[in-house]
């Protein structure tokens, strides 16, 4: 086998704790130098395939593997969660890790480090702390670390998912320039920009089966596959989530008046939009007018208030025994978020989008300026009643050991009654109700994190990159959720780089804040 080839022969993988294999009898040959785009709906086994090629299944990740998988040559892999791939305190040494492993001389190591850092446009000095990087910047750092080893095979799992269009384009150019005639396998949901640069498209269907394998031309001629973001197609219309699931809960309520909308009906309803490929609004059956009226009545005394930030600065402090380091994470940020309005916080990677969101929810203290209302000193329970925050890394938010409990956790702490099964059915996760949250794929975890944070129907909904890792169908659910919340009177803010994510207003956080 020539250097750069990847071969799967009858490869089957069943992770621990799952009855059915997530990849079943896969046969796939990738020739040296081929550039392959790997697509498929959320949870179809794309990441698992890359893990298999990296030799991690059955060794580092436990489960049952059968069949053959082999990769010829040196492998470079960028995982979905970049934070786990960082091995050093400073960016220069982190990128140097690969070249050090290859036994290169010191001059060559630093030549490669500088070249890789500039290729991904990470314009910080070599001794910049890795802990001071934003999610998007970490993604670029990890990419630089892989490029610096000049691998024969490059495997990328959603390498630009956290980046805005301009930065993503640069990162993509960097990858393509660095890959040259090496083998490339890239997994991406928003794959349109890659199509001009790949030779072949492989589409996985749920269950890890190859549903399509052919040239880009053939793929496009096919006209589209369920759930995929086909080029040129307008973004799907957000699913119309019933108001009863998103209308802000007045503080006085001890239990919810949400009508007992049957699980069956919820399932049918989900099925109706999952089948719908064309952008048309799935319409809810008018089953809860009574509940809505009750809500409006009770709702009035504690309607969500606007959130106003003026000239906010946030300085994040990293405390170490060796000394304290401060990084400006946000400067001079002003915004007004009104009830019933969806505001998108946009801006380049590293500009402070996530920090702006945290400052407005009161989850981080501001070092300058004011946020009204100031929620930084509120008790956890009181804070949770008013806000719902969906974090960027969903795993850090999980509190329980089953998907169903996870959805109920906050609501039960606040005494708000929710029907977890209905909520799970709405986001297409009903079959995972008894599973551990960690068993879900990246995109599934994000949807779970969203409904777990919002099940209790807070008046201020704050979401950090909610559309990352979603296929068309699940994207429509995620965007449907927050737009419905805004229609129902909630204050909605999202930090996002997704230009298609619906919004009523937009605030740009400007240039990346450079650390001192």
């Amino acid at each position: 086998m020539r250097s750069g080839a990847i071969r799967f022969r009858g490869f089957t993988w069943r992770p621990v704790g799952r009855k059915n294999p997530t990849i079943a009898g896969l046969d796939l040959h990738i020739e040296p130098g081929e550039r392959v785009l790997l697509v498929g709906p959320s949870g179809s086994g794309k990441s698992t395939l890359l893990h298999a090629a990296a030799g991690a299944l059955g060794t580092t990740i436990s489960g049952e593997a059968s069949g053959d998988v082999s990769v010829e040559g040196r492998l470079g892999l960028v995982l979905q969660n970049p934070a786990d791939a960082i091995v050093a305190e400073r960016i220069g040494r982190d990128v140097a890790f690969g070249p050090e492993n290859l036994g290169l001389p010191r001059d060559e190591i630093w030549r490669r480090v500088d070249r890789a850092l500039s290729a991904v446009r990470l314009d910080y000095p070599r001794d910049h702390l890795t802990s001071a990087l934003s999610g998007g910047e970490q993604q670029r750092l990890v990419l630089a670390g892989v490029l610096a080893t000049e691998p024969d095979v490059v495997l990328l799992d959603e390498p630009t998912s956290m980046l805005d269009a301009v930065t993503a384009e640069r990162a993509r150019d960097a990858v393509l320039a660095a890959v040259g005639d090496r083998t490339l396998v890239v997994v991406e949901h928003r794959f349109e920009p890659w199509l001009d640069h790949v030779d072949r498209v492989v589409a996985l269907d749920p269950g890890g089966v190859v549903g399509f394998d052919g040239s880009v031309g053939e793929f496009l001629a096919l006209g589209g596959r369920p759930g995929l973001w086909m080029p040129g197609a307008p973004p799907p219309t957000p699913v119309d989530i019933p108001a009863a699931f998103v209308t802000p809960t007045p503080h006085s309520w001890s239990s919810s008046p949400v009508s007992r909308w049957s699980s069956n009906r919820a399932l049918r309803y989900t099925a109706s939009f999952l089948d719908t490929q064309e952008p048309e609004r799935a319409v809810m059956e008018p089953s809860q007018q009574g509940a809505s009226a009750a809500m409006e009545r009770d709702h009035a005394p504690s309607a969500p208030k606007p959130v106003i930030a003026s000239d906010v600065d946030v300085v994040l402090t990293t405390r170490m025994i060796r000394g304290t380091r401060r990084h400006p994470a946000l400067s001079n940020f002003s915004a007004r978020l009104d009830p019933g309005t969806t505001t998108a916080i946009t801006g380049p990677s590293g500009a402070g989008k996530s920090t702006a969101l945290l400052a407005m929810t009161g989850l981080v203290r501001v070092s300058g300026g004011t946020v009204t209302p100031d929620r930084t000193r509120m008790r956890s329970r009181d804070l949770a009643r008013e806000i719902g925050w969906v974090p960027q890394n969903p795993e850090l938010g999980f509190l329980t050991t089953s998907v169903r409990e996870e959805v109920e956790r906050t609501a039960s702490a606040l005494g708000v009654e929710v029907d977890a099964d209905e909520l799970l059915a709405l986001v297409g996760l009903e079959r995972f109700a008894p599973s551990h949250p960690y068993r879900l794929s990246g995109g599934e975890q994000r949807r779970l994190a969203m409904i777990s944070a919002l099940a209790h129907r807070p008046g201020f909904v704050a979401l950090d990159e909610p559309t990352v890792g979603q296929d068309r169908d699940t994207w429509a659910v995620v965007t449907g959720w927050y737009t419905a919340a805004a229609r129902a009177g909630a204050v909605v803010a999202l930090a996002t780089h997704d230009p298609d994510a619906p919004r009523d207003a937009e605030i740009s956080v400007g240039e990346a804040v450079t650390a001192t």
Binding site: G76, V87, F97, N101, T149, T361, S380, L383
Partner: protein, 233 residues
């Protein structure tokens, strides 16, 4: 002067602990013990940027020392001086090293461990990556706390709630650490670590005059009790 500790190389910092450990065996009388502890405290005052941290370490090693004093006093006959000297010996043994560990930069330590001490390269690199994850724990802890606060399950001021909460946070951190470790090992192997045979190091392990001076000082401090002991004090 007070930033000196951050500028000397990590082996010098480690040597503080090593020599204090060797010296501690010569702590045989109260005058030797008091002089030695006094000198280390003086050095801490002059060379460390903070007082709080060495004091915290003193409290921890002091706890160990007190238990030794008590058991020596109970078991070895009620001789107060012998018991106190035994306690102070533990303090000399543990305190300087425990303070210094906090100031060691994991990345630099691996450079010196591999290049000066010639320890096996793969082990050193893995150790350094693991230590790097340790410093990431502070951030993970913060994120875990933030989500718990946002989800309405963070405790109030009640001490029982606080303790329970810390327990659940510690467990969550452990889970995160283990999950992170497997992703980390996949990522490291995919950057050539799996077959790193002749690993090189991006930065040299140099010994400046400052380092040599620091080493001389740590040897001197460690030698104080030995010299006193040999002189028959």
């Amino acid at each position: 002067m007070r930033t000196l500790v951050t500028r000397v190389n990590p082996l010098v910092l480690l040597s503080v602990g090593a020599f204090s450990l060797i010296g501690s065996f010569a702590v045989r009388s109260l005058p030797i013990a008091l002089v030695t502890i006094g000198l280390y405290a003086l050095a801490a005052l002059i060379f460390l940027p903070t007082w709080r941290y060495p004091l915290a370490c003193l409290a921890f090693s002091g706890f160990a020392a007190v238990t030794i004093v008590y058991s020596t006093w109970r078991l070895g006959g009620p001789n107060t001086e012998v018991a106190v000297v035994a306690g102070l010996r533990i303090l000399v043994l543990a305190w300087p090293g425990s303070v210094m560990v906090g100031f060691i930069d994991p990345g630099r330590l691996s450079d010196y461990a591999a290049q000066t001490l010639r320890l096996p390269a793969r082990g050193v690199a893995a150790f350094s990556a693991a230590l790097q994850r340790f410093s990431g724990f502070a951030q993970t802890w913060e994120s875990l706390e933030r989500t718990r606060r946002a989800r309405g399950v963070a405790p109030g001021r009640h001490p029982v709630g606080q303790v329970k909460h810390s327990g659940s946070m510690a467990f969550a951190l452990l889970v995160q650490a283990m999950r992170g470790a497997s992703s980390s090992s996949i990522a490291m192997d995919a950057r050539g670590f799996a077959d790193a045979r002749a690993r090189t190091w991006a930065e040299p392990a140099t010994w400046s005059r400052l380092d040599l001076g620091g080493l001389a000082l740590t040897v001197t401090l460690g030698a104080v009790p030995i010299v006193h002991f040999l002189a028959g004090l």
